[in-house]
């Protein structure tokens, strides 16, 4: 019993350290608000006129929402992706400055230390995702408490998976500088090929999609797991799915399990 309490206290300690560090760091919080501002206030408003109707019955993309509403869930995912994957910097930091060594010699099992760190990173990333919800009024997205609760749960599981993915990356990158470049080359392509900023019109057939977009792009969108995470959040927040609704939840949970298991293996080797 004592062992369980000790393990939980250790888990809490590692989690709390990550939360405290992230919420005290104003630079991280500024990053958390700058992305939604750029994507929703600048890009969303800037492109909105190109997606609005000028003649009744004639719009380029026949989706029952505005461009800002369409973009809104994707910006939440973007904020979670950046915060989760960049969280790996904290792993590199701990490794470089010896903190990780000190923690690893504690009686806590390594997987529990990793769980504490990943839970901490996922909590912070969910918080950053939740910050975007404050802009729901601007994007004209009406949210009920139920929707917010389900969205937060999905966001947390997604953040858990992506934070674990960040740990996997950190195990393969040795320097801060290298990680900065590497993470951007991972995050941005994943984001742009997730149907985040352009819809694959569900009213069109597979053949018509290939006419609207080149087949290679449609293929990239379809094999990108983030596509289904964005789609799941769209389903919850604006009641719009481009793919079978259950897929998104399945992919988010699958990513969380798979990446955490791989992260445990990598972390055990350190």
């Amino acid at each position: 019993m004592n062992g369980v309490v000790m393990a939980l206290r250790g888990l809490y300690g590692v989690w709390l350290r990550e939360i405290t560090r992230a919420t005290r760091d104003r630079a991280q919080l500024i990053g958390g608000i700058s992305r939604p501002l750029i994507w929703l206030l600048i890009l969303g408003v800037g492109l909105n006129p190109y997606f609005r109707g000028e003649v009744y019955g004639e719009v380029r993309f026949v989706i029952p929402y505005t461009y800002l509403q369409f973009l809104f869930p994707a910006v939440i995912v973007l904020n979670i992706m950046y915060t989760s994957i960049q969280f790996a910097v904290s792993v590199i930091w701990d490794r470089e400055f010896g903190f990780l060594r000190e923690v690893l010699v504690s009686p806590m099992p390594r997987w529990l230390i990793l769980l504490g760190k990943v839970l901490g990173g996922a909590t912070v990333a969910t918080l950053h995702g939740a910050l975007v919800l404050v802009l729901a009024r601007f994007a004209d997205v009406t949210l009920s408490l139920d929707q917010v609760a389900v969205a937060l749960a999905l966001m947390f599981v997604l953040a858990f998976g992506l934070t674990s993915f960040g740990v996997i990356l950190a195990a393969r990158v040795r320097s801060f500088e290298g990680f900065g470049v590497f993470s951007n080359t991972v995050i941005l392509p994943l984001y742009f090929t997730s149907s985040s900023i352009f819809p694959l019109d569900p009213a069109l057939t597979r053949a018509q999609q290939a006419v609207t977009y080149p087949e290679w792009l449609v293929f990239l969108v379809q094999i990108n797991p983030i596509t289904y995470a964005v789609d799941a959040l769209r389903g919850v927040l604006i009641n719009f799915n481009q793919f079978t609704p259950g897929w998104g939840i399945g992919v988010i949970v699958g990513m969380a399990v798979l990446f955490f298991v791989v992260a445990i293996i990598d972390f055990a080797r350190q």
Binding site: V55, Y56, F138
Partner: protein, 269 residues
């Protein structure tokens, strides 16, 4: 205890600053649709020549949608300009109605708040309910193999769902191109029943003894009628929604419903 409190003060302050900043920014206007109308002082409403009781040719009782929009315009300090366009409803495809931003700020008089409509327009639902209704002398649809005349209308109800359901019921469909043709087919007895959108029946001279009833709830949802705005006109939509709430709170909306005898949700036509 105070050490724990101190530990959380800075993160709490940081978070508070962030949330307050985002909340303040969420009040920025995302477009100029309201500002443009305020500048011109005019709100342009496009309606079909007749769609009773939402739009009528009676100057004393011009229609529910027209009077409602007039009240909203008044609350926004704008003058309402009603454009009665005969092109509205003449074709299944609204693109062929040739309605542009230059002509209309709001489209009303037969716009249902459906997914199909929301694909093209922003909608502000009104309290009035619509859906597919059937008309027959018996108050029932004919048995399998019987004929029904169908006038789909243009309010945005799901025609594909209706045609699939009629096929599964093994009913023969006689398509009608106009309310007059719909009435003629019913009166001639070529069809045992008719199916159309609820408000289209209001302007028809139906054969005596016709009874109107909703199609089964389990298969067919009912929808609210709506005022349609151009996609992306969020600031105008917000202002109109706010004016609608104020109109409702003042009891004017209910008075309008009574005046035009339009029942609210839950009641049969």
């Amino acid at each position: 205890m105070s050490a724990v409190r101190n530990r959380w003060i800075r993160p709490a302050v940081n978070l508070l600053i962030v949330v307050l900043t985002l909340t303040a920014l969420s009040y920025l206007p995302p477009d100029t649709s309201l500002a443009d109308r305020q500048k011109s002082g005019v709100l342009k409403l496009c309606v079909p020549p007749s769609y009773p009781p939402l739009v009528t040719a009676d100057a004393q009782q011009p229609g529910f949608d027209i009077e409602l929009t007039a009240k909203l315009a008044e609350r926004l300090g704008l003058r309402l300009n009603v454009n009665r366009l005969s092109s509205i409803g003449t074709d299944f495809n609204p693109r062929n109605w040739s309605l542009t931003r230059g002509q209309c700020d709001i489209i009303a008089g037969g716009v249902a708040d459906t997914v199909q409509t929301r694909s093209f327009l922003e909608t502000i639902p009104t309290p009035i309910e619509t859906g597919w209704v059937a008309l027959s002398n018996t108050g029932q649809l004919p048995a399998a193999g019987g004929s029904v005349v169908v006038l789909p209308g243009t309010s945005g109800l799901d025609r594909l769902q209706l045609s699939g359901w009629l096929r599964r019921q093994s009913l023969q469909v006689i398509p009608a191109r106009s309310p007059q043709q719909f009435v003629d087919v019913l009166a001639s007895g070529r069809a045992a029943a008719g199916i159309t959108e609820r408000f289209l029946t209001a302007g028809m001279a139906l054969p005596p003894g016709s009874r109107t009833f909703w199609l089964p709830d389990a298969q067919f949802s009912r929808f609210r009628m709506a005022l349609g705005l151009w996609k992306g006109d969020q600031t105008l939509k917000r202002a109109l929604l706010s004016a609608l709430q104020a109109t409702e709170a003042a009891g004017e909306l209910e008075a309008l419903e009574s005046r035009y005898h339009v029942e609210t949700i839950g009641k049969a036509p």
